[in-house]
């Protein structure tokens, strides 16, 4: 199982447009990707409601996990996505 920790770079947090872009990217990996606050229960990263309900704000850390072929590459690309200010783009 691949795991990554990343800090939310979007100024509005993982919400609205940033959340939608992240969920779209997670869905496109075709893998079972999960996202969690450190030490808490993970939620399905392809569920926009689940992702938004995390309430992850700017500067907070989240943990991504995925299983299967290409999991490492998939998570690297999702980490790169969350490291940008998606609301400003």
């Amino acid at each position: 199982m691949a795991t990554r920790t990343v800090t939310i770079a979007s100024s509005v947090g993982l919400h609205a447009r940033p959340a939608a872009l992240f969920v779209e990217a997670a869905t496109n990996t075709g893998l079972d990707v999960e996202i969690a606050r450190p030490g808490e229960d993970p939620v399905d990263a392809t569920s926009i409601l689940g992702v938004m309900a995390l309430g992850a704000k700017f500067g907070e850390e989240v943990v991504l996990t995925a299983d299967g072929d290409g999991a490492d590459d998939a998570l690297d690309s999702l980490v790169a996505l969350l490291s940008r200010d998606l609301d400003a783009e």
Binding site: R17, D44, T46, I48, L49, A53
Partner: protein, 560 residues
């Protein structure tokens, strides 16, 4: 061909319109007697299909929308397709809830989580509930709520329109608006006038008009006719053409026939309004409602953020005047960052300047930002406070305005107490501005949001005219100018009366400026004063209007 049928409502946005009816469907709620599903798994298939239908229709709308709306609609489609939402609904189906209740329950589970997060997250609850309401409609096989899609120019009919619904209407396709509820000063009415779409509110049984039935409406007289006779449509069209021609023949600053200058100003609520109004033939802004700019903010905007917005509002007006009303929150306009908690009577509570007194740091930040933006743009900025009742309050406000380096302070006159003592209140400041919507509400003790009390809120009520007259006399004694910035300033007949009572500027929805300019140009100041006397001699609002209509110059009444 069915017979024409005419009903009367209240015209709130001028102009005539003719077109087929499009009905706005109300939000759909789950039926109270919905049975438990016989086969929960089969029911879940139906629920998923309903959610998919909603997602697809949102995506279709997104494809046709502009960039901002497109992103919102796409994100909303993602919500409809959310696996978590379907899973939550499935659990409820297995617990014995019917499909509609299962959708509603699943939506509320997430809504509660978002509301607990607060701020920007809480704002998404509206989208979530909208998805739920649409999915419930789909699973029940009833029309989706909201404005349906249509592609021929039509008249939109609704019980009432939410501000967001009104703001997103396509001006090219919506030729007119009719609502069964709403009032003269409801936000729907104000937005329709601002968008220049003819509108009539308070039309009995409007929502019962079948879809597709041709209807003619007159946004001045409030007349609504279904299956109108071609001759009526023609007469309306001719009058509209005559009106267009008459109005086009006048331009420039407002002036009576005998040369008394009456500034014609715009009421605006944000940057987009400012850009639109700045390009028009008018003398500036008589009311810039600042709270509209911050309605969606979760925390108090910073001085820098505010300065940027004000700069963009002032710029389109060059050196023309811009009268800014400081934050008027509370009552029907609660702000997330300036909420003092629930009140039994919000319209009589801590709103307007009373809120600023509790939270002076909000007012100071706003005044500081206004001063910086005024210096940077060179606009003639004047600041006024809402909901002032006493001379002490006026003095307190004026001192803060001057401390922040702004040259001119004023007050809104919307509390009858302040109107009766206008000479003392205005003695503390540089100018006054009558907010006739709230002044009518407080004079007649009738809630502005209560459509059923529209008759009491009629600014033609003789008691309201008396209070306005007292305020103008006070302003005259204090040698301060008094303007009007309520919706009544945009009614050409009432505008004449207001000028007759002593108003020296009139601020209104920009679409109403041309007809008011024309009204002034065909009357002398003495005639306006006579109309004011005639109106105040009336015993009822209707009689006041009728008397003024009978006495006004035919050149004006022929085009109304």
């Amino acid at each position: 061909m069915p017979a024409p049928e005419t009903t009367h409502g209240i015209g709130v946005s001028p102009g005539t319109a003719y077109g087929p009816v499009v009905q706005v469907a109300p939000p759909v709620r789950p039926p109270a007697d919905e049975p438990a599903p016989a086969d929960p798994d089969a029911a879940l298939v139906d629920v998923k299909a309903a959610l998919e239908t909603v997602a697809r229709s949102l995506e279709e709308r997104a494809a046709a929308a502009d960039d901002t709306a497109q992103q919102i609609l796409k994100a909303t489609a993602l919500i409809a397709r959310d696996r978590g939402l379907a899973k939550a609904a499935g659990k409820l189906l297995h617990a014995g809830r019917g499909p509609a209740h299962a959708i509603a329950g699943a939506v509320e589970e997430y809504a509660a989580q978002f509301e607990a997060l607060g701020g920007l997250f809480a704002e998404r609850v509206t989208d979530l509930r909208d998805v739920g309401s649409r999915a419930i409609a789909a699973v029940l096989g009833v029309p989706a709520p909201g404005v349906p899609r249509f592609d021929v120019p039509s008249v939109v009919v609704a019980e009432d329109l939410a501000p967001a619904e009104t703001a997103t209407l396509d001006r090219a396709l919506v030729v007119g608006i009719i609502t069964e509820a709403g009032g003269r000063t409801s936000h729907t009415a104000i937005l329709a006038a601002q968008m220049g779409i003819p509108a009539v509110v308070q039309v009995p049984h409007a929502t019962a008009i079948p879809v597709g039935v041709p209807v003619a409406l007159d946004g001045d007289s409030g007349e609504v006719t279904t299956n109108p006779d071609p001759s009526l449509v023609e007469a309306q069209r001719v009058r509209a053409a005559r009106r267009t021609k008459a109005l086009a023949a006048r331009s420039g600053p407002g002036v009576t026939r005998d040369g008394t200058e009456i500034a014609l100003l715009a009421n605006i609520g944000g940057v987009e309004d400012a850009v639109a109004a700045g390009a028009l033939d008018l003398e500036g802004v008589g009311l810039f409602r600042t709270e509209f700019v911050f309605l969606s903010a979760a925390k108090a905007p910073t001085v820098a953020e505010q300065t940027e917005i004000y700069r963009r509002v002032f710029e389109p007006f060059g050196e023309r005047r811009v009268v800014v009303r400081t934050l008027d929150a509370g009552a029907d306009k609660p702000l997330a960052f300036a909420d003092l908690g629930p009140e039994e009577n919000p319209a009589l509570g801590r709103r307007g300047l009373r809120l600023s007194a509790e939270r002076p740091e909000l007012l100071d930040a706003q005044l500081e930002a206004l001063a910086v933006a005024a210096r940077e743009t060179g606009a003639d900025v004047r600041v006024m406070a809402p909901m002032v009742a006493t001379a002490e309050e006026a003095a307190w406000f004026a001192r803060r305005v001057r401390e922040n380096g702004l040259p001119k302070a004023g007050v809104m006159i919307e509390v009858p107490g302040a109107a009766l003592r206008a000479s003392d209140v205005l003695g503390e400041v540089d100018f006054g501005s009558l907010g006739t919507n709230d002044l009518a509400q407080y004079t007649m003790a009738a809630d502005r949001m209560q459509g059923a009390l529209s008759d009491l809120l009629d600014p033609w009520q003789p008691a309201v005219l008396d209070v306005i007259a007292a305020a103008c006399e006070g302003a005259d004694r204090a040698e301060r100018p008094m303007g009007v910035c309520g919706e009544s300033a945009g009614d050409p007949l009432l505008a004449l009366v207001l000028v007759g009572l002593g108003a020296s500027s009139l601020s209104m929805a920009p679409s109403k400026v041309p007809v008011v300019r024309f009204a002034l140009s065909v009357h002398s100041l003495a005639e306006c004063q006579e109309l004011a006397v005639v109106a105040r001699e009336a015993r009822t609002a209707q009689e006041a209007l009728q008397r003024v209509r009978d006495r006004a110059d035919r050149q004006l009444t022929d085009v109304l």
